[in-house]
Amino acid sequence: MKTLPLSLALLTALSIAPAFAATPIDETRALDPRGSIDVSNLKGRIQVRAWDRPEVRITGSLGDGVERLQIEGDRSSLEVEVRYPRNGSRAEATTLILNVPQMATLDIEGVAVDIDVQGVAGSSLDIESVSGDIVAVGAPREADISSVSGNLQLNLNSHKVDVESVSGNIALRGRISGEIKAETVSGDIRVDTRGEPARRLDTSSVSGSASYVGGLAEGGRISAESVSGDIRLTLPKSLSARVHGESFSGGLSAPGAAIDKPRYGPGSSFEHTYGNGAGEIRMETFSGRAELVLE
């Protein structure tokens, strides 16, 4: 019986052996405060934190079976890439932890990688992943973020944001005064500009629902489309816009608007003007419910 605990301990030690096989990373390179950095990793995690030094520090661990960590470039532009062998499917996950200048331009690509970026405020932030979740908090002027099945949790104060997923949910918050484009297939879209009036908002989905809470800039435009997902736009009572809603078999509602339905056959629509009608809002769904709420 005494051999059982010993065996269990041995098994446990063997099972965590790959973790010890990972190679620690500790690299530092100079980078201009507004330089650019590209990061790619197929499997594992990428974590980025902004700091106020003109350099990039890379720590973390290379997974067992990974070929090497490749760092190329100069002070203005750096590329950090985890290189896998030709048949690298058995390689262990790699964790990259980067500290980058706050105003750096950042481009991150991953496949099965969770990505967490906080504090950057450069001219652009591009993130692309397939199955990993993405968390981003910062103030890049422009952000272009996409995943396939991972969820997007974004808190951005930006001028222009473009987000896309297939089945992952998108939650976007932040003071965004310019253009927002959000697109999914089955994932839900939640956009909240914290009262900031967006100049342009486009949402589209197939079965995912979409909601927007925020304002509309003078003369701004909102377009929300879905096939079967619900649409809900929540705008201030001071809204000034011409609003058009259209549905084939779903429902439509907007304060004060008369919904037109043909006497025979499917379909419903409405046109209604709020305030001076300076902006334009269009909601279109095939079988979902499209709703405008003023509060």
Binding site: L42, V111, V130, V166, S167, S207, E225, V227, F248
Partner: protein
Amino acid sequence: MNDNRHDQDMPAALRMQLRALRTPEPPARELWPDIAARIAAQPQAAAAAPHRRTRLFPAIAAAAVLALAIGVGWQLRPPAAEPAQASATAAPAAPSAPLVIVADAMTREYRGALREVPAPRLATPGYDSLLELDASAAAVRDALVQAPDSVFLLQRLQHIHARRLALTRQLASA
């Protein structure tokens, strides 16, 4: 990051033509009083000629729209020798609406492009999303059959196909 996105979009000319189909063009002024006055002024027997002309214009317009859609569909058709693959999104029983014809031609075109890409392995991260995109394309195509003048459904279908092709390429190279 998404530089290829616009390249894979529907050709601009086609997009503009399809958009034009749904744009109503109301007359600059109320025409009915003049028409009614002319009808009243015509002898009963002669009234038939202008009546036929007024019905001719919508018929010509409808024929033009149909010809445009069929033309677009013809341009997008697959080579005759290529076997048509049964699928959830193509091969309708009787696709009569112009946009459905375009949708099915477009679907066949994208399927042809997909055959040029190595199939990703089942274990590849994101593979399930390919199946989800296929199911979504089928759902949108079904919706288009029910609402055959919905340009936004056709655009959505095109975008799903483009995403499917781009993702397949991405996963195949991963």
